[in-house]
């Protein structure tokens, strides 16, 4: 998948596969990334607004398949659990 090439990695503690779909301009997305970093959780992220049209379409298909709306940030954990929006409590639970 071309999207995989756009993943940016942030090193930390392995709590499973954590992928953050974000917008580079969004403060809630920024807070999400900062919280994960402060919790020292290993994660990958994609800034969706910086993707090409083809990549964006690919993401849309992926989200449709997962029944997830294009609202950001979206955190996908181990390809199954989804956290939409900056939900501090749920993000903190990831480190436990």
């Amino acid at each position: 998948m071309a999207l995989n090439n756009r993943l940016k990695h942030v090193a930390g503690k392995d709590v499973g596969e954590v992928i953050v779909y974000a917008l580079s301009t969004c403060q809630w997305c920024k807070k999400t990334k900062e919280l994960l970093k402060s919790l020292k959780i290993e994660y990958d992220y994609i800034d969706v607004d910086l993707l090409s049209k083809t990549e964006e379409h690919e993401l849309h298909e992926l989200f449709k398949h997962m029944n997830v709306d294009m609202n950001f940030p979206v955190i996908v954990v181990n390809d199954k659990d989804v956290i939409v929006g900056f939900q501090e409590d749920k993000i903190r639970k990831l480190s436990k």
Binding site: S24, Q27, W28, M70, F72
Partner: protein, 115 residues
């Protein structure tokens, strides 16, 4: 440095909008300055200040409802105490009765870029 100056100028404009719309700017200035930077990025990219917390289509007509202040701002401030970005807030947030948080999206999916 130029970016900061632009954002500071926009901050003052946002304050005026808040006053005109009978609401307030989020008291967390750093957070608001981040939103202002996002609005400026979108202004340069799309030619209009689309909401930095939403994915714009680049088509001004289609994005009309998400040009800041967006069409959902007033109902969100009324119902949740803040807009989707938490840029504009209610008196209850200023008074500490409501904590700033991420709220659900009110914009219909049909209006989004790819639907």
């Amino acid at each position: 440095m130029k970016k900061d100056k632009e954002a500071e100028k926009l901050y003052k404009q946002l304050e005026t909008v808040a006053k005109y719309k009978n609401c307030y700017l989020n008291p967390d200035k750093e957070f608001v300055m981040g939103i202002a930077q996002g609005l400026l990025v979108n202004q340069k990219k799309y030619g209009y200040m689309s909401c930095p917390c939403r994915l714009a289509s680049g088509d001004g007509k289609r994005d009309l409802d998400i040009i800041c202040p967006c069409a959902y701002m007033l109902p969100d401030v009324k119902d949740f105490g803040m807009c989707y970005c938490a840029l504009y807030v209610s008196k209850d947030v200023i008074g500490g009765r409501i904590k700033v948080h991420s709220i659900p999206e009110r914009r219909p999916n049909s209006k989004k870029k790819l639907s």
